[in-house]
Subunit: 196 residues, 2 copies
């Protein structure tokens, strides 16, 4: 019986590319995959459970986690802090579980510095222009704001070179199938098996 090492999978890509949709569609199709649980300073919403939806944390404790290097990555969103506790991820991996993390490009680059052995998957639009069209699909944006977003997207696309895989999200079913295949393949990699 061959056992495996735990693998960290990071799904990332430009905003608006549909990486959250890909993750949600992939999850029910793969066994033995843990979702990373984020820490946040945002107060719990109705029905949210600490340690399941998020690790709810005070700003002081969050700052301590930053200072102690306990977070794989963190960011401030609308005044609340969000981050990925490294402890939780490494505990899962050391038990031979795989962990899936869906995160923006800046976060993924932070994670890569701390866990370079992770599998980094870049979800790409068919073209930068196509992403711009999706983001600006409502048609009531000024030419200037379209140009600003297009520039931001080109900047994000330039980080593709740090990733192991590139999955073009043209048809969502195809993108999901590709990510599922990447997970299956990585699990067959000899270096991820515990041989002898």
């Amino acid at each position: 019986m061959i056992t495996r090492k735990g693998i960290l999978f990071v799904i990332s890509g430009p905003s608006g590319v549909g990486k959250g949709t890909v993750r949600s569609a992939v999850l029910p199709q793969v066994d033995d995959m843990q979702i990373s649980i984020s820490a946040t300073t945002r107060p719990p919403r109705e029905g949210e459970i600490d340690g399941q939806d998020y690790f709810f944390t005070t700003p002081a404790r969050f700052q301590q986690m930053i200072d102690n290097g306990e977070l794989l990555e963190w960011a401030s969103v609308y005044g609340n802090l969000y981050g990925t506790p490294q402890d939780f991820v490494t505990a899962m991996l050391s038990q031979g579980n795989d962990v899936l993390l869906e995160i923006d490009i800046q976060g993924a680059l932070q994670v890569k510095k701390k866990m370079p052995a992770g599998v980094f998957i870049f979800i790409s639009p068919p073209t930068v222009e196509e992403l711009s069209r999706r983001l600006c699909g409502r048609g009531n944006d000024s030419e200037q704001s379209i140009q600003i977003r297009l520039g931001a997207c080109q900047e994000e696309m330039s980080h593709m070179k740090y990733y192991d895989y590139v999955v073009v999200n043209d048809r969502i079913e195809d993108a999901v199938e590709k990510v599922r295949s990447i997970i299956t393949a990585e699990r067959c990699k000899r270096k991820n098996l515990n041989l002898e």
Copy 2:
């Protein structure tokens, strides 16, 4: 539009493991995959077409190919010579086509020396004992001949360390799905894409 480099996939493993069955089942499930065509000194059988089933070759010409290093690998089987012409494979790859080669372990190790960038997939029995049982399934082999085959199989298994992927052929459908996933995943690898 992102284009890809051609990839050489090598399916290999101990004799009796079912690698030919895996290959035949995978092929109809993947697009854009060329089969490597072998050269042989064996005379054509009824209906076999030169350049399609095999490149039929004289012993003198085959020897010349060996001497010139034109073969990725070669072997003698029941007095006939069989080999894989490198030209054909590299021409396919340079056109952006993928090539699939199913071959025994000795052949795969020869190919790896010449084309280390290939993707080497080891089809493994669930256990060495299980492979021995499959090979000796008829139950009328002497204890000694079983021991000899078991030893040969253990020797073959020791080469697993040279492969990129290990696919356990427990249920054939699962093994086929894993090989198909490996092909899909490798095609998404950033290093196999022609970016900028």
